[in-house]
Amino acid sequence: MAAVIAIALAFGVSGYFSEVDWTMIIDSVLRTTYRIAMAYGVALVLGVSIALIVGWSPFADALFPFFDILQNLPSFALLPLFIYFLGFTDQTIILFAVSSIIWPILFAVLTAIKSAHKDLSDAATIFGARGFRRIRYYLAPLSFPAILTGSIVGIAIGWEAVIGAEIIANTSGFGAFIKTVDTSGLNPTAIAGALGILVIVFVVNRLVWAPLLADSARRYAE
């Protein structure tokens, strides 16, 4: 990140960004970030809920290959379907991003549940974590590190999905923005926009994921 800041400063000092329309960049970056945040929220709730219910049920082993097939459906192939039903809207892009972000989260949680030590599962049963309480008091906390790693991977894929969908659907947002500025030859604007995305990714990483990962490593260490 220090290198990114140094490059940005060097560009700034040299006057490379003097012609940049910062309002347009901020608007595009924030719009894309909003879509990512919404898509992540939906994918997190859906992915974790489905994984916990399936992991809790006796059908986890049977359903695993089914989810694997669904996961391998290329999300971009679904984009025309979303556009057909929802048009060139925020919902289309968010739903498309959900279809990409959900899988790393779902599989991370399912795998964590499946690979949990048998003794830990037995202890939960013996000490009364049965029925739905098993989900709340055993499976959900057990899955916390997996939710974190699944989220980090999912969001990385989500940025690609949202920006890709914005380019294809040519709606507002960072994807549509870089498509416009690239074809207009506005390279400083495109670079400033990319730096803006990097800053957001860095800030989220340092303020959200890094502390959560540190907490998870401290509490879940063997």
Partner: protein, 248 residues
């Protein structure tokens, strides 16, 4: 065989098999029959592959037997695990309180009981520590406190000393005997050391392997408290060792 009314546990011809791709069906436990008198301390010893841990799971109802009858004259079983099986996301206090929370006790009451149990095992000063910050001996004590917290009438212990150093396991054994006497519960312990089994138990069940089966049930009639450096104790160890050597 004793009258089953005075038995905490009776197993009659219990077998357990699981599907194996090559052998089609592999037998883990074959025709297991024994009784555990209520309030007694019973040890099971046997080689690896004797299915001791599987048998504990069958007794606790965590897996069904393929055949046979199990009479469970206990209401609340608890278990202490070889690898502790503490919940890593909970502090020592919350681990001990886990069973009470599942029973629906309010936070204040379950914490009061959990603190009491932690004190009983000598770890009240470590209640805020996560399992990863505890030594093996401390983790096993938390595991024991977690089991005691739910006031079990049957305590199953699966090789609780095997991951501990000698000094730690000696101290834990002494505490365990004190706890057993004061609680009056039934203890069924999987063990792999003959002197430990004799020091602690009223009865030693010797298992054979492939498939797991009962080879011999040996009562230990030494008076308590047992002096592990006395001649009768050494003679008992010698007798049991010889018995097992002949049997297996």
């Amino acid at each position: 065989m004793h009258d089953s009314h005075h038995m905490a546990l009776v197993l009659s011809r219990v077998s357990s098999r699981f599907d194996d791709q090559r052998a089609k069906e592999a037998s883990v436990l074959e025709d297991i029959s024994f009784s555990v008198p209520a309030g007694s301390f019973v040890s099971m010893i046997g080689p690896s592959g004797a299915g001791k841990s599987t048998l504990m799971r069958v007794i606790l109802g965590l897996m069904p037997p393929s055949s046979g009858v199990i009479v469970r004259n206990f209401k609340r079983p608890a278990m202490v695990f070889q690898n502790y099986a503490l919940f890593p996301w909970l502090t020592a206090l919350d681990n001990v309180a886990f069973g009470l929370q599942m029973d629906g006790l309010d936070r204040q009451e379950r914490r009061r009981i959990a603190r009491e149990k932690l004190k009983e095992v000598g770890l009240d000063h470590l209640e805020k520590h996560y399992p990863s910050a505890l030594s093996g001996g401390q983790r096993q004590r938390v595991g024991l406190a977690r089991a005691l917290a739910i006031a079990p009438d049957l305590l199953i212990m699966d090789e609780p000393f095997s991951n501990l150093d000698t000094i730690t396991s000696e101290a834990l054994k002494a505490d365990l005997l004190k706890i057993w006497r004061s609680y009056g519960m039934t203890i069924l312990m999987v063990n792999h050391l003959i002197p430990d089994a004799i020091e602690l138990s009223d009865q030693v069940i010797v298992m054979g392997a492939h498939p797991g089966s009962i080879e011999k049930i040996i009562p230990i009639d030494l008076a308590r408290p047992r002096d592990v450096r006395s001649v009768p104790f050494f003679k008992e160890v010698d007798r049991l060792t010889e018995d097992i050597r002949r049997t297996l």
